[in-house]
């Protein structure tokens, strides 16, 4: 399933970039993430609890950041395995400065879902994944605001 979209952050490109490179902040973008520990420069491991209405599942997951072009773009890859199946998602994120206080990001990626959740839950994928991404980005933007307030 393909996921594309745009989102505007209320901050400068540097600030937005830094948010994406900070696991302690990034964790907020992944709904229900309990912990995220750094296992190498660009790899983080953690467990996330997905909670969509009645659907609940915990995924042991890995987050990788690659293809970094400072302030330009990076690739986020998430891999999760759990009892209800597996999720594998990879997306390119591009950072376009609009102004000092506004940065638009474009994301373009593919999500692969397998196992139990894929075989019976497909009706939910599209709207739910959009939902989760938007909620995640809102949380990041909020974090950004808090950070700016200092």
């Amino acid at each position: 399933m393909n996921i594309q979209g745009e989102y505007s952050f209320h901050g400068s490109r540097e600030e937005v970039w830094n948010i994406f490179r900070d696991p302690d902040v990034l964790i907020m973008a992944l709904p229900g993430t309990k912990s995220l520990k750094k296992i190498s420069e660009n790899e983080y491991e953690g467990e996330l609890q997905v909670h969509i209405g009645p659907i609940m599942g915990s995924f042991g997951g890995k987050l990788t950041i690659s293809n970094e072009f400072y302030l330009e773009s990076l690739t986020l890859t998430v891999e999760g395995n759990g009892k209800i199946g597996f999720v594998k998602g990879s997306g390119d994120v591009k950072f376009n400065p609009i102004s000092e206080n506004l940065t638009a990001i474009r994301y373009d990626g593919v999500i692969q879902i397998g196992g139990r959740v894929a075989s019976v839950g497909q009706r939910l994928f599209d709207t739910v994944s959009k939902n989760m991404i938007h909620q995640g980005l809102d949380k990041l933007d909020k974090a950004l605001q808090d950070r700016r307030k200092g």
Binding site: I52, G53, P54, I55, M56, G57, K83, I84, R116, V117, V120, G121, Q122, R123, L124, F125, D126, T127, V128, K130, N131, Q135
Partner: protein, 292 residues
């Protein structure tokens, strides 16, 4: 396909139920009709560690005439009971029609009004019509009660503003004013399936036969019931005409909805259906309004 283990409580009063929900918070799930929750549990997609069964709370199963011709529904009232209630049949034809389109006969004997709303499925009939009819929901927790408008209640796919310790206990639906008409249009793969696209509309005419006010809400058109505020804007004060309906459905289907694609229908097909159905809905609603 057997459900995972859970702790089970069968309270007989709302207070008792709220106490359990307060105690267990996120781990607990209220069990109403169970027609959506239990399949998810059988697939082991839902694994609540505590179930609070509301089926023994008789105080939540009622239909009462509300003020100024409206109706109040207890959250645990079953679809079939609502569908065959004379007050509903006589004065709330849209509700009656919506009930007929829910699942299968066996689902309707168990499923509940409040359960369906709390499940917040953007493809659900009751979710959609509760918004188009400007319903009001009474939410209760040990902290106290709050009343919310239907369109504030739904926050995303299968999510609402309900807190884990909170219960939807009553739904208030106002009656349609004089000279009103309504329509519910759905397209589904099979008659009993979730709508690929659906729309509910209500319109009210004023003396000179032009549109006093209108409401249009789409189902399966986004992550929640999708209101078309533009439709309401455009229609207001206008004389109904085919051209008008075309303009409205064009606008509504292109800018007021955000349907996803799945194995049954692409986003493009859904948008196309939204256009076709909203036009048909307006036509039918205005025709009915003229007859009333």
């Amino acid at each position: 396909m057997k459900p995972p283990p859970f702790e089970y409580f069968a309270p007989t009063s709302v207070d008792e139920a709220l106490a359990h929900l307060t105690k267990y918070g996120y781990d607990a799930k209220p069990l109403a009709g169970g027609q959506s929750l239990i399949p998810m549990m059988n697939f082991r997609l839902a694994q609540p560690s505590v179930l609070v069964d509301l089926n023994n709370i008789s105080e939540l199963a009622y239909i009462r005439p509300g003020e100024s011709g409206g109706v109040s529904l207890g959250a645990m009232i079953r679809h079939k009971t609502v569908g065959s209630d004379s007050l509903i049949v006589d004065r709330f034809p849209l509700v009656h029609e919506a009930i007929k389109n829910i699942g299968t006969p066996q689902i309707r004997t168990r499923g509940t009004f409040g359960g369906s709303l709390s499940h917040a499925d953007p493809s659900a009939e009751l979710v959609t019509i509760s918004v188009v009819l400007n319903g009001q929901f009474r939410l209760l927790s040990q902290q106290g009660e709050r009343w919310v408008h239907a369109n504030e209640f739904f926050t995303g796919s299968f999510s609402s503003i309900l807190e884990p310790d909170e219960l939807l206990v009553e739904i208030k639906l106002p009656v349609l004013p004089e000279h009103s008409g309504w329509s519910l249009q759905e397209v589904a793969r099979r008659h009993n399936d979730f709508a690929l696209m659906g729309v509910a509309a209500t319109v009210e005419l004023d003396g000179d036969g032009s549109c006093k006010q209108a409401r249009m809400v789409f189902m399966s058109a986004g992550d929640r019931p999708m209101e078309s505020l533009q439709a309401e804007e455009i229609l207001k004060g206008q004389k109904p005409s085919l051209e008008l309906f075309q303009a409205v459905s064009e606008k509504a289907s292109t800018s007021d909805i955000d349907p996803g694609g799945d194995i049954h229908a692409s986003k493009e097909f859904r948008v196309h259906l939204a256009k076709v159905l909203s036009q048909r809905a307006l036509q039918e609603a205005f025709n009915r309004a003229r007859e009333n």
